[in-house]
């Protein structure tokens, strides 16, 4: 990191002045937390007793055999409480909020994953959660809305603009600006202004740290290849970061290529985007030549975002991590394959990583090891996949 909150040229704090004191306070408090044994112990307690950590590292025998190449291990974030790696982040941030004395948490949500995770973390710590969600998404995601309300969160239905994620995020930032002294803003991925990318990455590093310990125990070595899907990039950075210094460990980030990069209908920010500034940080993003942000597409709701966390932009530039676009079609194929061969229904987001990982494993040696992070479970995606008519 060249300077505070920067990853090469990426990152920064591109935010309205009104939020700067809050960001600086957060930065300060987070640094305290990071170095506070009691905080870390409390977080670990929630990991273990509430969240179901450590999650298993599972040797997928049948998938490996049908692939015929490297050994494929799956890091089972789908077994986290709430059904995804989102848990690691919201739990950490909710404890930070509590320490700051902020009992009111706001968060934006698209399909509802981060919203439900936030509601859950707020519930267990006795904080209030207010979830900003576009009216269109509210209509489409009835069950997630119900889940949030069930856990006591207040729904703030956003009726401006396209009534979807982006508008929900704008509205949440406005609300934050209006009540910044008492409100904690819970960001859902390793993006946004400093210190969020760093903080969220730190909270997600439990994924990679566990992989290291578990694989050491099982294979006595480091992985040859790590694979994770990249939406905002939180599960991927959590998987990769602890291995960045290990030269022999290759890394592959699977982005959403949607209908195919060439069609322009995708969310492959790193593969097909250009550098810009969006929602607080400098990073690759999908934009036109005038700097207008382009809509993203992915069959996976959690990958459907035109930006990406700044550290990934840096890792791409320095070629430490390779990023690859995986189409909707291939993701669907892996969704079915993993369900059928391993009895694990992955999130559509994770299915991107599975496809990318299996594809690489095929051309690797049998004594090599690929670890794919299954960021979440696919129950949330059944309607989407069902509507594709793949299974009669």
């Amino acid at each position: 990191m060249s300077r505070k909150g920067r990853y090469g040229e990426y990152g920064g704090q591109y935010m309205p002045e009104i939020l700067m004191p809050a960001l600086q306070q957060l930065e300060r408090v987070y640094q305290e937390c990071k170095n506070d044994k009691l905080f870390q112990e409390e977080l670990e307690w929630y990991h273990k007793h509430y969240g179901g950590r450590p999650t298993p590292l599972y040797y997928a025998k049948r998938l490996t055999e049908s692939t015929g190449g490297a050994k494929i291990y799956l890091k089972r974030e789908d077994l986290c409480h709430g059904g995804a790696h989102k848990f690691n982040n919201v739990m950490g941030q909710a404890l930070v909020a509590k320490r700051m004395g902020k009992r009111h948490i706001i968060a934006e949500t698209g399909a509802g994953q981060h919203g439900t995770a936030t509601a859950m973390a707020a519930a267990v710590l006795g904080l209030e959660a207010e979830i900003f969600m576009g009216a269109e998404d509210v209509k489409r995601q009835k069950m997630n809305v119900f889940r949030m309300k069930l856990m006591g969160a207040k729904l703030h239905e956003v009726t401006t603009g396209s009534c979807t994620l982006k508008d929900a995020m704008n509205e949440a930032l406005r609300e934050w600006a209006a009540s910044v002294e008492t409100t904690y803003y819970m960001l859902g991925t390793a993006g946004g202004p400093h210190p969020y990318p760093e903080m969220v990455r730190d909270f997600q590093c439990v994924i990679g740290n566990e992989i290291r310990t578990q694989l050491k125990e099982m294979e006595g070595k480091l992985p040859d290849l790590l694979v994770a899907c990249v939406g905002g990039g939180s599960n991927a950075i959590g998987t990769f970061y602890p291995f960045l210094k290990d030269k022999g460990v290759n890394m592959l980030g699977a982005e959403a290529a949607g209908y195919g990069i060439h069609t322009g209908v995708h969310s492959a920010t790193l593969t097909a985007g250009t550098v810009g500034v969006l929602q607080g940080c400098k990073s690759y993003l999908l934009q036109d030549e005038d700097g207008m942000v382009k809509p993203a597409h992915s069959i996976a709701p959690g990958l459907d975002y035109p930006g990406v966390g700044p550290e990934h932009s840096y890792l791409k530039d320095i070629k430490r991590v390779v990023y690859e676009g995986i189409t909707d079609e291939h993701a669907l194929e892996s969704f079915v394959t993993l369900s059928r061969q391993e009895g694990i229904i992955p999130a559509l987001e994770s299915a991107h990583a599975v496809w990318a990982g299996v594809n690489r494993a095929r051309n690797m040696d049998r004594d090599q090891v690929v670890v794919i992070t299954v960021s979440g479970r696919g129950d949330k995606d059944l309607e989407i996949v069902h509507s594709q008519g793949l299974i009669k």
């Binding site: 920064g12 002045e17 700067m20 910044v180």
Partner: protein, 266 residues
Amino acid sequence: MKRMPQMFQRCKDDGSMALVCYLTAGYPDLGRSLEYLLAVDRAGADVIEIGVPFTDPVADGPIIQYTSDHAIRTGTRPNQVFELVRCLRAESDIPIVLMGYYNPIFAMGEGTFVTRAAEAGADGIIVADLPLEESAGMSRACRIKGLDMIQMVTRLTPPERMIIIARESTGYLYLVSRTGTTGKMTQIKPELRQLIGHTKHLAGRLPVVVGFGLSEFMQMQDLRMAGADGAIVGSALLKRMIEGVPPDKVGNYVTKLKQACGSKHH
């Protein structure tokens, strides 16, 4: 002397407070946008802030977001905004400030953007998502081209930080009058009066202009009494435009606002 300090001097001489009018460029389309700008200018505005539309205006309220989205859809990009400035400048000597977000500027290149803005006739630039920490490049580019780089402060800005920002800011200091974002009304409360006094004190000789959520005539008078050098009105104008109020009628409203600012002419 440059247009901006001249204008503030004139207001001072007048005993009035400067009225800063914000309009989103290209709303409802480029042609009519110019008509509204000219009407507002003629009606008595002291400064015109022209909003450069961006897809993700996180610091703005629903009204500005709506007009921005609309303007983008009808083809308003930074180059079109410069054209608008050029047209307005051809008709008027009013100080013109471009207000926008950083990404379109970054996409064009800070230097190019500032150069084109200057060439078109703009006097200053405000970038809503470029705090002190990120604005060194833009400040430098503006300085080179003689444009004002106007910075913002809020009631949450600590005093030491406010002093630094005021030192970095040129043209005027933009004081966000409430905690929230643009577009919502608020009463002028005693705290705001104190905040203005406090900011004026720290800002030294730099004029302090108060913005975000203003629309009532009463507010203007209160602000003037509190010592503000200017007041910004944006959403209140755009709201009328969205309702279909024609340029001359919006102009009448501006005239009344300026009167409330204490112009001698009322």
